[in-house]
Symmetry: C2
Subunit: 374 residues, 2 copies
């Protein structure tokens, strides 16, 4: 298997955007290609979760490749719900690792803010098991259920969960690409309106538009994809053995660490999937970045802050950088690359090994990617 390197990374500002999805994906792609010094990649892998229903276009690999001026470049689309970006990175990785292509542009994006929140919620809700959906389950409702179970465990209360949001908003305030750039206080988080008890508005990520892209290559570059792993779980949450840890994350981390030949103690910083603030705490423990039961305390103690021992979500995370679904898994990797190259400006952290973690659906299809500066 050939080594796979990242030759360029780029993204759009995340937020409420007026541009078309094709334009957002092109902006991110051209930024990544410019850094890589490549005019035209050998192949394109795109990620969008549901362009048919979000923007009314299908055949989206051909659609966006044509829009970019790459009509003759092989392009395909990957989808694993909200982790589609990470899955596309994997598919591009496989193409380069197999020697099928030398340079592959991987780009993910989503455009949702032009739709009403109930309509967005309905479309995203198709990721949930149909039987659970028939009882009115939505993503926030299931996340609320999981959060309640988590709070029954020692060391995780509303304060710990809320501190995740406070921290990530503080990070995003330093990130010009972020959806939200205003810090929030813990009181504001704890007093924001209830979305799905015990989750409040400021525990939840926003609906965001945006795109992110990386250029993969078989030629040596400054950052290598050291490991990439996928983990899966039952579609139905009611069929899980446990609610307060995600088997899909555990399996993805195991696979990524095994491929990279290193362990969680080697990770210097990470971008974790905090679509709901408590999910960051669950991921910290599932990946082995903090010992079981210690994620709440580590967060309150500032260990995971940008100036802490193990900075988590220096970008602001899904919570505050924003969550344009299929862009997110790639945006996390873009942030890691920028950090590893020392190009993260006001939010710069130090380190040589970075980890990105993406959740698809309600933790049915998760990915962990390890990036190493050379």
């Amino acid at each position: 298997m050939r080594d796979v390197w990242i030759a360029g990374a780029g993204m759009t500002r995340i937020g409420k955007r007026s541009e078309r999805l094709q334009a957002l994906m092109t902006e991110a792609s051209l930024a990544a290609l410019a850094v890589a010094g490549i005019e035209k990649p050998d192949a394109v892998v795109i990620a969008t979760m549901n362009p048919e229903e979000f923007v009314g276009d299908g055949n989206f690999a051909s659609n966006v490749a044509t829009y970019m001026g790459f009509a003759e470049v092989p392009a395909l689309r990957i989808e694993t719900a909200t982790s589609s970006g990470a899955a596309a990175l994997y598919a591009g990785f496989a193409e380069v690792a197999a020697g099928l292509h030398r340079t592959v542009l991987v780009v993910g994006g989503e455009k949702m803010t032009h739709l009403s929140t109930p309509r967005v919620s309905e479309i995203i809700g198709r990721s949930i098991d149909a039987y659970e959906r028939s009882y009115g389950a939505t993503m926030p409702a299931l996340a609320g259920l999981i959060t309640r179970a988590l709070m029954a465990r020692h060391g995780v209360g509303l304060r710990e969960i809320s501190q995740v949001a406070v921290k990530n908003h503080a990070h995003a305030a330093r990130n010009p690409y972020a959806h939200f750039r205003e810090p929030v206080t813990i009181e504001a988080v704890m007093e924001s309106r209830v979305v799905a008890d015990p989750l409040r508005l400021l525990h939840c990520c926003p609906i965001s538009d945006g795109a992110a892209a990386v250029v993969l290559t078989s030629e040596r570059a400054a950052v290598r994809i050291a490991g990439i792993g996928q983990g899966t779980d039952t579609l139905a949450v009611r069929h899980r053995h446990e609610l307060t840890s995600f088997r899909a994350t555990q399996a993805a981390a195991r696979a990524a660490f095994q491929m990279a030949g290193l362990g969680p103690e080697r990770v210097d910083f990470a971008e974790l999937h905090d679509a709901f603030a408590p999910f960051e705490l669950i991921a910290l423990e599932d990946i082995g970045l903090v010992p079981p039961g210690k994620s709440g305390g580590a967060t309150l103690d500032g260990e995971t802050a940008i100036d802490g021992r193990l900075p988590i979500n220096p970008s602001g995370g899904l919570k505050a950088r924003g969550h344009p679904l299929a862009a997110t898994g790639i945006a996390q990797v873009v942030e890691c690359v920028w950090q590893l190259l020392g190009r993260a400006e006001d939010r710069q952290v130090s380190g040589r090994v970075a980890l990105a973690h993406s959740i698809g659906g309600l933790a049915t299809n998760n990915w962990v990617t390890l990036l190493e500066a050379q």
Copy 2:
């Protein structure tokens, strides 16, 4: 790059099916796995063109993997419109070729017949360039335009085009998996009602339900994927240099033949994408299976019939075996494997090299796969 072999192949009967899409995909998968002697693959790649709108479910890789009892097996979804099955085969091929997985189940399926024809047409129509769509362009309308241009060329008239349908219906009559099992006369084809002038009903493939699956492996088996290539073109038909040949097919064939190290003269039989009967004639010439301008004559002369020099669509093709969108690219490969292994019963042809050709959208994203019996 490791060699990639097909250890098992299976499919459902194609047609109007009452089962859920998940059940159809499971039926095909279990058949392929049984032939391969594998209980559980290392990974799954699924293809569906638009499960959200066709059946109301998203996150479909997790959905169908869970349904199959493979909730803990890594699964992802690939989409390139109507060629999604072929694209999934490519993604699975890359995973095995790179050494990421040893056995990969690739399964494609679609369920559409429960919807009205206008609704199916609307969903499939999202594959078309939005500007052309805004003038009422549908797949049959664009295919009619292309057919009219084709008929302006020497050697292709309504009789040649109609003979493709007659031939493929005759083949399907021998295929227990086919949607249509009644032969049709050339008069019946030429007198069937006009769908999009000059295309008549019996020049067009039906709306079908069904699924098909193959098991890929890095261990030597009886059939090898000798080559697989993708070709693409502009989304908008009006931006093409030519209407009567498809650049996407030409590029896909070139890439597949190059990987396999052989040329079109080595192909013993083929499954070609005849969603509209004239497309079989275009593909014959684009792939180089017959010389330019000779496809009409070769068809009238019986060269491409099941007992001819170069049997085309022994399964009955999309025209008569049926076209369950994302299943089709895999169903073609299943037919080729069965033929190569001498298991095609009443429709058996002879040969050691088979070719499968799949069109995505209006020839925006095409694939050619070469299969070789060892």
